[in-house]
Point group: C2
Chain length 283, copies 2
């Protein structure tokens, strides 16, 4: 369940970014959208695990990370959580050069975040997680203190209504999301294990956050189903080395087909996205 020995998550990402692999595959299984053949057994844990295995095998060569969103596993009960745990272990065993970024958006008081750190890093084995900033760094300390794991803080989320609070002005020409990015970059990142989350649906904001955070890693969800374009995103999102981003795509890849050829279709879609990323990077 622990991290792959000798390979810090940031180093693994940098190695993938070096040859342009910035795709992050979102593993968000929804029971009703699984191929019928997999749903036949009604054995939830095994079906979800086998679906994830097939997607992982089909897309790993194009990716730098897998990002399961824990909500989809919780919706399937304790069997879903078991499938998630086995999925993380599978990636670590078969593809130790990739990372597993658990999308959990957790955030509670410090004593409770100790329990979340155990759940996410030790029980589930994630290399990195997403967290919500609302309670501040003092509360997140038990998660931030895990220096060998990554902590991606929500800055500007990809949803249409993200601005309700995130765009509120907190100073002259400074919206809240920029204030969050600044705090993460200047204070929370003392162990150099932080990243940020900015939605592909807000390219201008990606550029402003990149200016604030320097070369910190940036998770960018919302390409594809949510509508952001790769050209817009990479034009402003890359770090000074031409890497630094995890471009997450979930539904477009894992539901490329819902027939028996779903793994082949996922590979095709991931390969095409990888090509588009390479093109956009050099464009």
């Amino acid at each position: 369940m622990s991290q792959v020995a000798g390979q810090v998550w940031t180093e693994r990402l940098q190695r993938r970014w070096a040859d342009g692999r910035m795709l992050c595959v979102g593993l968000d299984p929804v029971w009703d959208r699984l191929p019928v053949a997999l749903r036949g057994s009604a054995h939830v844990e095994e079906s979800i695990y086998r679906f994830n295995q097939a997607i992982i095998d089909a897309t790993a060569e194009f990716a730098c990370a897998f990002k399961p969103n824990i909500a989809y596993y919780e919706a399937l009960g304790s069997e879903g959580l078991s499938a998630l745990s086995r999925t993380v272990a599978y990636v670590h065993a078969q593809y130790p050069e990739l990372i597993v970024l658990l999308d959990a958006k957790r955030g509670d008081i410090a004593s409770t975040n100790e329990a979340y750190a155990v759940a996410m890093f030790d029980v589930l084995g994630a290399d990195a997680v997403t967290v919500s900033p609302y309670l501040g760094a003092e509360a997140l300390e038990p998660i931030l203190a895990r220096a060998d794991r990554g902590v991606f803080v929500l800055v500007k989320t990809s949803n249409p209504g993200a601005g309700e609070f995130q765009d509120i002005q907190i100073g002259p020409n400074e919206p809240l999301y920029e204030g969050v990015a600044r705090r993460v970059a200047t204070a929370w990142n003392s162990r150099e294990n932080c990243g940020v989350v900015v939605g592909a649906t807000y390219p201008a904001e990606i550029g402003r956050v990149r200016e604030i955070i320097g070369d910190m890693p940036m998770l960018i969800p919302g390409v594809g189903a949510q509508g952001g374009t790769l050209g817009d995103v990479l034009g402003v999102g890359l770090d000074s080395t031409g890497g630094g981003v995890l471009i997450n795509v979930s539904r477009r890849v894992i539901y490329a087909s819902t027939d028996e050829d779903y793994a082949v279709a996922a590979a095709g879609e991931a390969g095409q996205l990888a090509d588009e990323i390479l093109l956009a990077r050099h464009g």
Copy 2:
């Protein structure tokens, strides 16, 4: 797994508040702090469930709600989640006049919040949940749309560092947490199923939020282990009917003793808190 027929969660709370029962018992089991006798079996699910049953039976008469924080169950893996699910069902079966408020502090984009709504309301059976406001109402809509369930939004949390973002000024004499409370009261609560969370450690803020939200329910954690006092809290927190608050206490009750007399000790502590609440209410 569903709600108790014919008894909306708000009505159940109001009935308890009418005779001054405002105690909310936090069910946050930590394996190493359980009574040795329960840990002997090393059967995690059964041990946690039996611990919770005993605490519930010992404290229900003094309480209006039970509040399991899901982090502590996730830290115990899928067995922990099974114990949580059984715990919620136990409360509904044995004490249908109380509610289960699941402390999860969830918040993701809308499509993912659909999965969280299933996980929290349908799989686990919670009557109400806590959510984080950072992504805004548009993202939370699938949770808010469950009109028969409660949605308690984090406004000012109980942790010492809560102010890092929550106290940022967003207008003339208006900190962010007040802005959140105002949005919840004026826009998010159209189905009259919202509540707010304000820490007992910030009594002045409890008073300001009460002015903003009128008679909406307020969850107040942080009495006891975190240091807030009942007199301060109830002096400013009650609604116009003399109720309206869920005073959460976790560790002081459930770990009143870690010996075999833990249930008796929990009952004693809960009874004393109930008396203190009655006194403070009339003081």
